[in-house]
Symmetry: C2
Subunit: 736 residues, 2 copies
């Protein structure tokens, strides 16, 4: 290990470590030890994610010792606060091995002076829209955290945990003054637990992660065609027949509500209706528009189970959206509303949130049109279109929720010109996507006076890299008065209990920052620097995204060594967009089943390659400075990539699941060879040879193609070495 | 990768992978591909752990395809069985990516023929002592699992999961005929959740692991001085004041009971009394023998909180055992028994098991002797010794349990000559340990007609390697009629939620095999071969022992690369015996606190070094055969160890927690240098140089010493290279 201007570089043979070393040494502790090329944005935000609305960094340190203790000035009955203070305190104790002398922070500790003083002016719990601001001042002598509410204090505690640094065996906080508050009051993550059931433990770990990045709403998509995940005592056939045994008991639901509230997070449940409702009808077919039997399963299932020669099978995704008959509530039956009234009443005893999400998305009206009684009812009621019937249903459900003192949220399909003003419209359909017509822009809804939530551009299930979401501008030009905020949305057709964490995290943190930090915090490189730091912090706090990846690699090699495979998979990402999903949906095979294993390479690689970002950073710096140390680092990396393909050959032979990425391995080899040649050309000092460049770029363009539903991520950076210039990132990728 | 007589060797630069490669290629698939030096014991047991009581292996294979399905002939209401069948089915689906066409195995599947047929003759649930036998026959056409009971079928399903092999991209079962049943009906794991609280999730993962190795009793040590971990509605101050907030709600307790029952495991709760009971008195001091106040904490705490100049502070562990005043129930008060009656009654609504463990261990009577009223009461009742008062207390509690239809279990301290015959005596004190006098041998108890449980020699918290427990003979020469079985015992003074899995697993599997397999299954090398395979299977099924280790290493390097550190820690084990624990107990500092972080190197390294075992195996084979390929593998490994010390120096500078193992790193370097020289001597063909050998052995003896509460594990194998002969393993190590 030798020191140089990039800090201490460990020269390793292992790709990810090697590159993490570049990253961490170039950018990690830099503001504090003084170094090159650090923008003021990096200086001021340290490793904090989301970036606070206001931060000043001073010279100096507060050093952690075993004497570190906490006094709290707050409502002594604020159990949520005291539990959070103790969690933070023990995390610091463990991370730093300080062996704190004080064991527990209790209300009686208030009177004694302490190194960290926490003041909370008002006890709050689980409300959306309270004052979440806090201020934090670290001096050499002490730390003062001040918050208007319990929720603000919880955020401040997370900031404290992100402020710990280490040097020469000592842990310390840099001296900072932070005044922080969120840009939006609703910073949500939607998790779909219907398509694949997610265990309570995994939900808890996701809540822990949300708290780290100051998200405050878990939108829990609890029911869909594929599964009804909630125990109902009123209507037990809902979970008994609608879940294949995978549901949460009411005790578990309550436990999670409390677990989330302890971390400043409100759970807003979604019960999707009138469509996306096949699982309801497995137990109660009489609620449906068309006769059963029904069983939980994908949208295509009912139509497959009830073939009708007069209707051709669904062939394309556009056709599926427009013409597929999917199970739908019968909005003309009184019994339906009686049922929903009772069911909603039961759910309000579990979910204290003032909001309930009713979905209401993607109902093409086909099931209604096929039922002559419904058609007759529409005629009787002077309805021309199924849109009017949808309006009728939404209004009835709205009134039921209102009776139970809940505000209705729905996806934008709830919108119509008579929608009650207290409804919240959840925008999701990307404008001009060519497949699904939007019901209006977010600004339309907000301008008309509706509280609006935005998930447009925040669908993290389409496998885009984090910067795409980070650059999403859909919140910027809105009538801000009525915009509550936004939500990252994770649908789970292609995610299950074992890959969910790696699908959501760390990417969702980019959305969290977009929702919390000021609109002018937009530096992508700087975001990625902090994102990969955060990833390790999330792992420390128990999230399984990193270990699930390692475990999945061991499974793919059948427990043979995984490092050569990891050298390749570390630079692969899932193919971007909905191609894989739509292929599965329109060609029903074993693979569309919920039980189909999600254990292919495309299922386990991350959407952001840390190695790519480190390499990109290294290439960018090298092209600017022509530094021989960086050149050597890049060359070593390229040699590892070049030589990896030969070592992987036996793996491709042993496993059909690995054979599908064989082409990427060969391409990585070829790209590395080109990269090494490009480095040599640069070193030679000669002018670039245009025909050689053309030839290489043509080859490289091929390597960007998708194989085995994955994409090779370092091709643009090799192009940059050939071109001697780093091109900007693509602003977007095709979704379909 | 090239083929040779040891199979396919991947030459890697990474120690553990390198050596796992030796292991897996030498021994993994060997019986099926035909290879050298495989004993018939290895042949016949495949990778199964525990080894079945009877197994025959035939040539040929059953190949898994997407057509694999299951039919069940059993009670259609056996929900436990159907859930287990589906879990197994989905695990196979995921592990092999077979995309099974059948989604779920339901009772209606009985009629159709299937590749796997399961017959269960009697539905059982959660009883100890039912017929747990099963037979399994795999032919090229189909698989037949036959079991007398549900529990037997669950064991057979675990065997199926351990029988999957892979070759040339195809997964298959070898053809076997297995007739299996357990040696003992009680195969337990005791987990102490009082000293450190263990989360419900971690308990579930441990239950999953227990099921894999066919253990059937979770003995849950729920209360002790340090914590009362059970919610009581009758006496809410028990958990409110006795747990520092860390307890299981009744809903959670019930959930775990069901979770365990689903996996064929009975939960037997332990409520320790009359000693080890400080946490009870935090809320109810009136139950104690001496006045309060009380708070949950280590044994030494009450005496420290109530200093008495007439009693010198406890200085040694022997003194602590004999003279320490530790909180104890007052056995002379009627209110105590009324309280316990009500409390036990409440607990029986949560724990359906027919057994309750009352602890009753380590009461030296000091608290009783110091209370004049108790002394007077003893006099009134003609009791000469506190042993007689203990007898009185045990009898009263026995009668309370009996009233609630529960059999009493207690540690051997419940034994006395009037103990009711239906009590179960739990043997734990090692005979002749020099510190604690035993109450009799296991054989004494069994011969006198008491049902007996054995944990003598199965205390896995004393950091011994697995073979020590595997070689434990304490069950062999007993009056078998009354011996129920045994339990591995994991106390948690030095284990918490983050290192518990690595403390228990995979080692506890060696105990599980001792309790399940025939007494003549004793080959240690063969056990280790399977143990490290099992470790990966446990990881696949969700156990966090491997990922917690990786995470802890990242914490130790402050997120710098961990591979050099891992090269060292992979060959370190915790110092064997109770030295660390006793040092903490007798010198009260911050480190005795329950909140003290367990994140040092000694807290995270495994008790069995897989690298050591692979290296040992390699050295043994090499010394037998003088094979140049093996010589090269060993030499590469020695070079890695030699060069690792230099790379680690900056880490020792950066971290005081790492600096404590600096000496081991230097010793590993020196030992490797000696090993390389020894290899060269052997290759030279010269006779050994006796004086050189003497000199090296003297140095090597030094390297066996403990530093930083850890020990270097590969020294004996270097000695073997110097001596040209592998010495047998030590039969035991000192505990104190």
């Amino acid at each position: 290990m030798h020191k140089n201007e990039y800090g201490s570089l460990h020269i390793k043979n292992l790709t990810s470590h090697f590159l993490r070393t570049i990253m961490s040494n170039l950018f990690l502790l830099v503001p504090l030890v003084g170094c090159v090329s650090i923008s003021s944005a990096q200086q001021s935000s340290l490793n904090l994610m989301p970036v606070p609305s206001n931060i000043e960094v001073q010279q100096g340190r507060f050093v952690l010792t075993s004497a570190f203790d906490v006094s709290v000035r707050a409502d002594k009955n604020d159990a949520v606060l005291y539990r959070a203070v103790n969690r933070t305190y023990q995390t610091l104790n463990r991370r730093t091995s300080s062996f704190f002398k004080t064991q527990y922070i209790t209300p009686s500790a208030e009177t004694s002076p302490a190194q960290l003083t926490i003041t909370v002016r008002s006890k709050t719990s689980g409300e959306i829209g309270v004052d979440e601001s806090y201020s934090l001042k670290v001096t050499e002598q002490n730390i003062v955290l001040d918050a208007a509410t319990t929720q603000g204090a919880l955020h401040g505690l997370q900031t404290i945990l992100q402020l710990v640094y280490k040097e020469d065996g000592k842990f310390y906080f840099p001296l900072v003054t932070i005044n922080d508050k969120p840009r939006f009051k609703w910073r949500g993550l939607m998790i779909d637990v219907a398509r694949h059931f997610i265990s309570l433990d995994e939900m808890k770990r996701n809540i822990d992660a949300m708290a780290v990045v100051k998200m405050n709403v878990l939108h829990w998509h609890l029911t869909d065609d594929e599964g009804f995940r909630v125990e109902s005592k009123q209507f037990p056939l809902l979970h008994e027949r609608g879940s294949n045994g995978d549901y949460y008991t009411q005790a578990q639901l309550k436990e999670l509500v409390k677990y989330a509230a302890d971390r400043g997070i409100v759970i807003v449940p979604e019960f999707d209706m009138p469509g996306h409702s096949q699982s309801w009808f497995a137990g109660y077919p009489e609620l449906a528009s068309l006769p059963g039997p029904y069983r939980p399963g994908p949208r295509t299932q009912w139509q497959n189970d009830h073939p009708d020669p007069s209707r051709p099978p669904t062939r394309s995704i556009a056709d599926l959206i427009k013409n597929m008959v999917s199970p739908t509530f019968d909005p003309t039956k009184k019994e339906v509303y009686k049922f929903l009234d009772k069911f909603i009443g039961e759910m309000t005893t579990i979910f204290p949130s003032g909001y309930i999400h009713i979905g209401a998305d993607e109902n093409n009206g086909m099931a209604w049109k096929l039922n002559p009684e419904i058609v007759a009812w529409m005629k009787d009621h002077q309805m021309q279109t199924t849109d009017e019937l949808q309006r009728h249903f939404v209004k009835r459900v709205h009134d039921i929720l209102k009776k139970h003192d809940r505000r209705m949220i729905g996806w934008e399909e709830i919108y119509n010109d008579k929608l009650p003003k207290e409804a919240v419209v959840h925008k999701w359909i990307p404008e001009g996507n060519g497949l699904t017509k939007s019901y209006g822009t977010a600004n339309d809804f907000a301008s008309k006076g509706y509280n609006t939530l935005v998930s447009e551009g925040f669908y993290i299930d389409i496998f885009m890299p984090a910067y795409i979401y980070y650059n999403n501008k859909s919140l910027d030009s809105l009538n801000q008065t009525n915009v509550l905020g936004g939500e990252a949305a994770q649908w789970t057709e292609l995610a299950d209990n074992e890959n969910l964490a790696g699908r959501i995290w760390p990417r969702a943190a980019a959305v969290a920052e977009r929702l919390w930090s000021p609109a002018n915090v937009t530096d992508v490189d700087e975001m990625y620097r902090r994102l990969f730091q955060l990833s390790i912090q999330l792992d420390e706090q128990g999230l399984q995204h990193l270990s699930n990846y390692e475990r999945a690699l061991r499974r793919l090699t059948n427990n043979a060594p995984t490092d050569n495979l990891k050298t390749l998979t570390d630079v692969l990402t899932p193919a971007k967009g909905y191609k894989k999903l739509f292929a599965k949906m329109t060609k029903p095979t074993n693979e569309t089943q919920q039980t189909a294993p999600l254990a292919d390479v495309s299922d386990i690689v991350f959407c952001d390659s840390e190695t790519k970002w480190a390499f990109r950073r290294g290439v960018g710096e090298y092209l600017k400075k022509n530094d021989p140390v960086l050149e050597n680092l890049l060359k070593n990396q390229l040699i590892i990539w070049r030589d990896n393909d030969a070592a992987l050959q036996p793996y491709f032979q042993q496993s059909t699941r690995l054979a599908v990425i064989k082409q990427h391995s060969a391409n990585l080899h070829d790209a590395a060879v080109i990269g090494i040649a490009a480095l040599e050309n640069i070193r030679s000092g000669n002018q670039p040879d245009a025909s050689w460049q053309q030839e290489q770029l043509k080859k490289l363009a091929e390597y960007k193609k998708s194989f085995g539903e994955t994409e090779l991520e370092i091709v643009s950076e090799i192009e940059a070495l050939v071109n001697r210039k780093l091109s900007p990132l693509p602003a977007s990728f095709p979704v379909f």
